[in-house]
C-alpha cells in the first residue's frame, strides 16, 4: 500500500476514470454528485452508469443496495471526497454488511470543487482509508499513481470483499462534461440493462 502523506498528488482524474472504465467494462457504476459524475460521463456514456445530480452523501449507500441486489455483478461507487465525507456513516453500514462485490473509489482532490474549491476535511486531517479500515473495510488503500488503477481493477473483478481506494487527484479544473439530468430516464435505462421493466 502506498502512502501519500507529504507528496503532491499528480493523478489526472479524467485519465484515471477513463482507465478504470477501460479495465472494468462490465461494472455497474454509481457516481457521486459533482465532478465524479462528469468524469464518468466523459469516459463514455453507458446504461450501466447511474448519473447523480443530487442526493449528496448517498452514493455509497446506493452502491450497497445495488451490490446486495446484484451479488454476481461488479459494483463501483465512484465519488469525491466531499460526497464521501457527507455519507461517512455509510462506511460503517457497508463495513457491517460486507458485500463482496462493492468497490468504493474516492477521487480525492481535497476540495469542494463545485462550490469554489474550498478545502475539504481530507485537506484538514481526515484520512478516508483509516476511516474505512476503522469501519472494518479492511481492503483500503491510498493510490498516488495512475498505473495503480490496476489495483482497483483487481479488487473490482475479484469480487472477494468490499474495497475502498482513496485516489489522490490533482485539484484542477477539468472541462465540463454533463450527462443527462433526467433521473427517471437514467433509472429506467439502468434497470433495462439488467433486464428489468419500468413499473
Amino acid at each position: 500500500m502506498s502512502q501519500t502523506t507529504g507528496s503532491t498528488p499528480n493523478i489526472n482524474r479524467r485519465e484515471f476514470v477513463a482507465q478504470l472504465m477501460k479495465h472494468c467494462p462490465d461494472a455497474l457504476v454509481i457516481p457521486g454528485l459533482g465532478s465524479s459524475n462528469y468524469d464518468l460521463f466523459a469516459a463514455g456514456d453507458r446504461p450501466e452508469n447511474f448519473y447523480m445530480w443530487g442526493a449528496m452523501g448517498g452514493a455509497a449507500s446506493i452502491g450497497l443496495g445495488l451490490a446486495l441486489a446484484q451479488p454476481s455483478r461488479e459494483v463501483i461507487v465512484l465519488t469525491g471526497d466531499g460526497e464521501m465525507l457527507m455519507g461517512m456513516g455509510s462506511l460503517a453500514t457497508i463495513g457491517a454488511a460486507q458485500p463482496k462485490n462493492l468497490t468504493i473509489v474516492v477521487l480525492d482532490n481535497g476540495h469542494f470543487g463545485e462550490t469554489g474549491m474550498q478545502r475539504s476535511h481530507t485537506s484538514l486531517g481526515t484520512d478516508l482509508v483509516n476511516v474505512a479500515k476503522g469501519c472494518n473495510i479492511t481492503h483500503a488503500a491510498h493510490l498516488s499513481k495512475l498505473e495503480q488503477v490496476t489495483e482497483v481493477k483487481e479488487a473490482v473483478t475479484a469480487k472477494k470483499g468490499t474495497s475502498l481506494f482513496q485516489v489522490k487527484v490533482k485539484a484542477d479544473d477539468v472541462p465540463r462534461a454533463l450527462p443527462t439530468r433526467d433521473g427517471v430516464y437514467v433509472k429506467n435505462r439502468f434497470r433495462a440493462a439488467l433486464g428489468f421493466e419500468p413499473v
Binding site: W53, A55, G57, G58, S90, G183, R191
Partner: protein, 178 residues
C-alpha cells in the same frame, strides 16, 4: 425478543408476513422498540438482507440501489428519523423510485420524553412536502391490510408511501425496569 414483545407480537408478526409475501428482500433500519420483532424476523430470514444503518437517510439511498438492482426494500424507522432523510428523499422524487417506509410514531401518546415531540408533530408534513403519500394505522387489526396495501402502492403503482404506526398501538414505553 422480550416477553413484553411476545405478548403483543400479533400485528408485528403480520408486518413481517406482509413483507415476506410482498417479496421484500432488503430491510433497512435504525432500530425502534416497535420494529424490534420485525427486525429480528428479517435477520433470521435467509431470503432477506436486514441492514442496520447509522442514519435513516442511508436507507433511502439503499432502497434506490436495491430498486436499480431489481429488488424491493423497506425502511423501518421511528418518526424522529424522518427528519434525517429530507434531502435524500429528493432522490426518490427525481428518479421516481418506488419506496415503502414503516414509521413508528413517538411523541404523540403517553410520551415521557418531550424531546420526541417536535419531530413527531412535523413527521406527516415533512413526508407530504417531499412527495410521499402518508397513511396511518391505529388499530392492531388493520395493520396487515394497511401495510399490504401500502406495499402495492409502492411497488405496483410506483409511489413513495409511508405508513405511520401510532404510538398508541405500540403502547407506553416502560422507562423503569420491573
Amino acid at each position: 425478543m422480550s416477553d413484553n414483545d411476545t405478548a403483543v407480537a400479533g400485528w408485528k408478526e403480520s408486518i413481517y408476513q406482509v413483507l415476506k409475501r410482498g417479496k421484500i428482500q432488503q430491510v433497512a433500519y435504525v432500530p425502534d422498540a416497535g420494529h424490534a420483532h420485525v427486525i429480528n424476523r428479517c435477520h433470521d430470514d435467509p431470503d432477506m438482507n436486514a441492514v442496520v444503518l447509522t442514519t435513516e437517510e442511508e436507507g433511502v439511498a439503499l432502497g434506490c440501489g436495491a430498486w436499480l438492482g431489481g429488488q424491493r426494500s423497506v425502511l423501518l424507522m421511528q418518526s424522529s428519523g424522518v427528519g434525517n432523510c429530507v434531502n435524500m428523499f429528493s432522490l426518490l422524487n427525481s428518479c421516481r423510485i418506488p419506496f415503502l417506509t414503516l414509521i413508528t410514531m413517538r411523541g404523540e401518546f403517553a410520551e415521557f420524553n418531550a424531546w420526541q415531540t417536535p419531530m413527531s408533530q412535523a413527521t406527516e408534513g415533512v413526508l407530504k412536502a417531499m412527495g410521499f403519500r402518508v397513511v396511518r394505522v391505529t388499530d392492531p387489526d388493520e395493520v396487515e391490510e394497511v401495510v399490504d396495501a401500502a406495499l402495492d402502492s409502492a411497488f405496483v403503482a410506483g409511489e413513495q408511501i409511508a405508513v405511520l404506526i401510532s404510538q398508541r398501538l405500540i403502547g407506553r414505553k416502560k422507562w423503569i425496569k420491573d
